[in-house]
Amino acid sequence: MKKIKAIHIRRVVQLFFFLFFLALFIQARDPLSQIPPPDLLLQIDPLAAILTMVSCRTFITAFLPALVVIVLTFVLGRSFCGWVCPLGATLDFWNRLMPAGLKMRGQRQWKYVMLFGTLLLALFSIQAAWLMDPLVIFTRSLSLAIYPLAIWGVNGLINTGFEIGFLEDFAYSAWNFFQGWLLPIAPLHTTLLTVTLLIFVGILLLDQFGRRFWCRVLCPLGALLGLISNVSPFGRKVTPECPGCGTCSDNCRMAAIEEEHTRTRRSECILCMECAVNCTVAGTTFTWRYQKKGQEKFNFGRRRLMGTLGASVVLGAAWQTEFQPRANQQYLVRPPGAVEEDDFLDLCLRCEECVKACSSTGGCLQPSGTEFGWNGFWTPRARMRDGYCEFSCTLCGEVCPSGAIKALPVDLKQKKVIGLAVFEKSRCIPWEQNIECLVCEEHCPLPDKAIKFQLEEGREKLPFVDPLLCTGCGICETKCPVIGESAIRITSEKEQREVM
């Protein structure tokens, strides 16, 4: 029997966490189970925690689990990257498919630029975790690109089965089987799919410049954990028997082993255990003894520091001062329980968990593009023509990791005003054509009906909105039988936001 080595354990653990976070992602749906919390991956993220708290200047208890990762890093070094991080795992799997050499070993300092850059932006109260945080990128790529494509594939297979006579019953059984836990209300469309996918594929392709390129060169979370792991007592040690064969440093995916093979860059080592397994004399071990030797002195460089500072200021200023047309605000409808807009932009990680969860019920949430400025890019907005806010559903708040959308109890959610329905009478069937149509009123979920009828001699019932009752759930806009744009639309008028 093959002896079980540390690297095997690591691979199993890595695979376990990858599948675990994948399962959590799939679990962010209706009906929701809060144990384990579906947004756990982002709540253990120290980078998102720090950036969010700095940019909104508030302590957020939702991020307390991030302490676990910080403590883990103090004790065991940058092991999170090698054992837990699902993006790192993806890159390791990718390398098995598309083996890359170990070219391009340098440029390690860039990730500190990313870390300090995002921190500076946070000081200017600009949430930038969503740009560079690997766990956010991973979740978002799943939510907006990989999951919709997977659903497209599954639905495609099932629909093909429907076309082939003898497979139909099987296809229907398969569809019924997947309904409710994997398949959302079909078909699933998300906006920004292509751009999200391109970024994800881009990160994978960067790996061709050298293994774990993202983790070595760009990842700000890796930089943060690297800084902490400099003081970790646990790490790689090489016994004096080392013949200096160089196998370890040639194969190190993180380029963490220095030329003389005995010294380790502590901030780079992700404890993948490959060197310990490959060592020709079994002289490489990982021990608890704190080794002063082998610590790369952190050297950011004055020029780089000034460059980062300057770039952040310019980028942040451009971001904040970009012209945002007032007219666009009309259809900026945020999810129920969203905090006030300024705080919302600080808190929202753009992880798209809410979009994923929403697709299993009403399906109104979609990421916004640049229509509300770059500041609002990837933030969730409700597009009621293609989905509506399900009256008794509270999913988006429950899966939001940072509290940008507050989790509301059902009775409060049902009363939460997210907008106001407005008729476009020139397109409404009874108003314009004098033909009976009560679809909006029929679907209005409020017990007292926010859509009322005006009775006029010789005319069909004419619907109008009671602004005191309407909560803007948008089911009227979704179900309106008019082709194209609905004859009743939700605007952000009268919306109520939560206080952070």
Binding site: P31, F162, E390, S392, C437, V439, H443, P447, D448
Partner: protein, 304 residues
């Protein structure tokens, strides 16, 4: 002459005897037919529990055995349209659905339960309690898949000549419609015929103008063999989905019958209205699909 008279007298007696015997003999079929008509075709049950009401109704109608359900594919079509709780009176009573499924299951049938919902299907199935009750009783609870609608022709259709109907419903050996009696803004009242919209393709938007004619066009082709109408919790206002329990009145009734139009007619009366108040019932009656007035085989049973 006397002989002749005697003979005639005799003849008359003979004639009368023969005539009365003959009349009696001729009456026999009428008697038999009267007995046949006394067979219950429409039952209104008041009081008791949902299960007791169902048992009473099925007994009155002659039991399920008349359909010889063993081994048959049976569709039970409740109203699961809305993401509402049973107490809100928007969906068919899950207890009743469970009881119907159990009765059919005990008789050896294969039962499937589904509806084309207005809110998200999973939520409606769950919150109505129907998925759980029907599954527990042994039914297959399925979701409507858009590719499983088959187009049927409507030869005598006034406005529609064809429409997509859910295949499972069309192919079933026996269809049991299980509406809930409730208020409805558009139709005025929602009962059996309205509930059949849950087997129609893309039902809501395009049917909602000239609703009565279109509804009857389609339902004329797909009438169920048995209708069991739930009138336990009756939504009086703000139908079809309600939401306020104050709008719900506990009537604790059940109407069951073979003629869907007769069941709906009785439902209208139970609701405190006349069948003629509702366009789609008038339309159905005018087209000869059935009668909304009480048939001879009507029976009212009070359980309490």
């Amino acid at each position: 002459m006397k002989d002749q008279t005697d003979k005639m007298n005799l003849n008359r007696r003979q004639f009368l005897t023969t005539a009365s015997a003959g009349t009696a003999a001729l009456m026999l079929p009428w008697q038999l037919r009267a007995q046949e008509e006394a067979k219950t075709t429409l039952a209104l049950i008041r009081g008791g529990t949902p299960v007791e009401r169902l048992t009473a109704a099925l007994d009155a109608l002659g039991g399920l055995s008349q359909f010889s359900p063993k081994g048959k594919q049976i569709v039970v079509k409740p109203n699961i349209g809305w993401d509402r709780t049973p107490a809100q009176g928007a969906n068919t009573d899950p207890e009743l659905v469970g009881a119907v499924v159990r009765a059919l299951k005990d008789a050896g049938a294969d039962i499937s339960v589904f509806d084309f919902t207005c809110n998200t299907a999973q939520r409606c199935y769950r919150r109505s309690g129907i998925e759980e009750a029907a599954k527990a009783a042994g039914a297959k609870v399925t979701h409507i898949h858009e590719k499983r609608f088959d187009e049927i022709k409507i030869p005598a259709g006034k406005l529609l000549q064809k429409w997509g109907i859910y295949r499972d419903y069309l192919e079933a050996d026996l269809r049991i419609n299980m509406p809930i009696l409730k208020h409805h803004t558009l139709a005025g009242i929602s009962m059996g015929l309205k509930n059949l919209m849950g087997v129609m393709e893309d039902s809501r938007p395009s049917l909602h103008n000239n609703f009565d004619e279109k509804l009857i066009d389609i339902t004329s082709q797909i009438l169920p063999e048995l209708t069991i109408m739930d009138a336990r919790r009756v939504l009086r206002r703000n139908g079809p989905q309600g939401g306020n329990v104050d709008d719900v009145e506990e009537l604790n009734c059940l109407i069951a019958g073979f003629d869907p139009i007769a069941v709906d007619g009785e439902g209208a009366r139970l609701f405190g209205r006349e069948p003629s108040d509702f366009g789609h019932l008038v339309e159905a009656e005018n087209r000869g699909l059935g009668s909304t007035s009480r048939p001879q085989g009507f029976r009212e049973i009070n359980l309490s």
